[in-house]
Every structure is written in C-alpha cells, then in structure tokens.
Symmetry: C3
Subunit: 141 residues, 3 copies
C-alpha cells in the first residue's frame, strides 16, 4: 500500500520534473522562432514588439506601443496556460530612456499580486522601428 | 522498510523540484520589479546598476561604478541565501566597450572557484546615466 | 518488488533533478567567464561572437560573421553533449537591423526539427567590432 503510494507520487513527480517540451509557433511562420517554448514547468517567452497588425509598424504614441506589446506578450503567456503573475524574470529593451516612467505606469497594470525580477536596458531603435521589446521566463506554479 | 525509505526520498525530492517561489522586494517600492525571485533552487536576479545612494547617480569613475554595481548585485544574491559562485549565467550591458578590460579585472575579484557563462553586450547609456548594468541566474547547489 | 522499482525510479529521478554543475572553460583563459555551464539538464551558453581566429576580428562580410558565430555557438553546445535543437531560448544582439533577413536565412539552417524562442535586439557595435552576438539556454531532452 505504501509502496503503491510511492509509485503514484513518482508518476506525479516525473511529470513535474520531466523536460517535456511544447513549442508555440509564431503567427509569422516565415520567421525562424517559436513564440514561446514550454519545457517542463518553465516557459521561455520570445521577444515581443508592439506593432499594429494593419501596418506592421508601431503606433505613433509610445504608450500605445507599450500596451500593444504587453497585450501580445500576455496573450502568448495565457495561450501557454500561464499568467503574467507566473513570470519570474523579464527583460525590457527600450530605445529611449525618457519613456521609463510612463512605461512603468502601464507595465504595472499587467500584474496582480507579484512582480518578476526585471532588467531595463537601453537598446538602439528596435526591429520595425519599435521603441520597446520584452522577453521573459515564467514558471507554472 | 524499503518503501518507507522511498517515501522519505520522495519528500526530499519534492522539495528540490517544487517551484516554491520567494520574491525579494526592491528597496524602491515605487518601481514595479522584484530585486530577485527564487523559484525552487533557481534565483533570477534583476538588473542592477552602480549608483551612489546619496545622489542616485553613478560615481565619476567607471571603476567605482562597476564596484558599486557588483556590490549591490552580490548583496542581493547573498540576501537570498546564495553566493556569486552559484551564478550560472550573467549578462553585462555596457555603454562603452573601452571599459571591457578594467571591468574584467574588477569582476573577477567577485568570484572564488568558478565563473558563470557571461554575455557582454554594448548598450546605449543606461538608466540614470549608468555605464554598466548586470543581471543573472544563480542555482542553489 | 514494487518498492525496489520505486527505489530504481527514484535514482533516475534524482539524477534528472539534481543541480550537478559542469563548467566548460573558455579557450581564452585570461577572460573571466565559462563558455557554458551545465546545471542539471540545463545548459547556459555564454555570448558568442563571430571572429576569425587568425585576426581576432570579424570577417568583412556580415554573412561570414554570422556563420562563424553560429559555428562557434553550435560547437560549444555539441561539446556539452547537447544539440542546437535542444535550445529553448536564444538572444541575438545585432548592431545593424538591416542584416535581419540575411541573418535569418543563415540561422534557420542550424536547426532541424524545432526552433527556440528568440529575442532579436539592436545593440551598439559589439566587442572586437562585431555586428552579432548570440547567447542562449538549452535543455537536455
């Protein structure tokens, strides 16, 4: 009985520890990356930009771009079965440091109870003329 | 007896694999990030700068800035119960590549027996006018 | 019998979950970093550049530089017993966004069945005058 219980627990543990991998394809199949990769309980989320699907460019206002980017990032995480609050680490690349405060105001609204470790780095102008890019790692609780 | 031993080992294993999470708050509660997040045995450390608390700016000398930054980074890791030697991965962002050699001389002094994989990337001038920023991942042995 | 099977599975599980660490030294022992660190099943790969060993500089053509960099990156991963297809996350730093399409064409050739989550970031000119730098995380299947 105890042994059977041990076997049962082992199966559950194996699932948790196993490096079973699920790739979430990009909606741009021409580009060579997965939007996110779930390995075991850890989700590696690719760099996301804030571009208007109609124009494939960022919107005029930096705050709109930040919201579009965080919506897309959050959608990828949700699609993989996790939530923004599961992020443990985030990297934000930004081509203009004067946007730091307004970015923070928007970013904060995407989290509920807790905040990931974050790195905020000054980059050059990003792909498609973007001012922001975000990537991160989330862990299934 | 053997089964009881199996159950015991299972408990230890569960602790090691569990994604139990501890967030280490930033000393700047106005800013939306944790200084570090410990998930299971893995510590995700946020980007750290080298700023003088009195002025909230980097010191004049780049070497002083590097030391201040590495002291702050090391303090966060120690506070979480880990050590610099537990780092497996580090990213250094630097706005001036000519500082590479002097940075390396200082950086090396923070490690004892072993060195993490490192990426050294040329950024723009960082937040608060900093020349350096460091982030990384450490694993409890 | 069942208990013995449980013990056997426990040993295998322990190996998988343990944070046993192996450091892969850089061929530049003067520089303070490991080329890669394997912790448990996870390989943290340092930033790699595409430099000609004869000149310690990048080749003239950006496409040659990209190939040299990806060859070096792939060699490190292979040396650690993993493959490019085991990468779950990759970061590419590039000082010139106009190289994006030609980089993608070359990058894609290094993967067989699946692609990691990727972040493509605009940096300044990288160490030794390089246009590209790549780092990443791979997980042993």
């Amino acid at each position: 009985m105890i042994a059977r219980c041990a076997i049962g627990s082992l199966l559950i543990l194996s699932l948790g520890c196993a490096n079973q991998r699920t790739d979430f394809a990009s909606e741009r199949p021409a580009l060579p990356y997965s939007k996110a990769v779930l390995s075991g309980n850890t989700l590696y989320v690719a760099g996301h930009l804030g571009v208007d699907p109609a124009t494939d460019s960022p919107p005029k206002a930096a705050t709109d771009e930040a919201r579009m980017m965080l919506d897309a990032f959050s959608a990828t995480i949700t699609r993989a079965g996790l939530a923004m609050d599961d992020l443990v680490q985030v990297q934000v690349f930004c081509s203009d440091n004067s946007l730091y405060d307004s970015f923070n105001d928007i970013y904060r609204q995407y989290f509920d109870r807790r905040l990931p470790a974050r790195t905020f780095i000054t980059s050059g102008t990003l792909l498609r003329g973007c001012r922001f890019e975000i990537a991160g790692t989330a862990i299934k609780p």
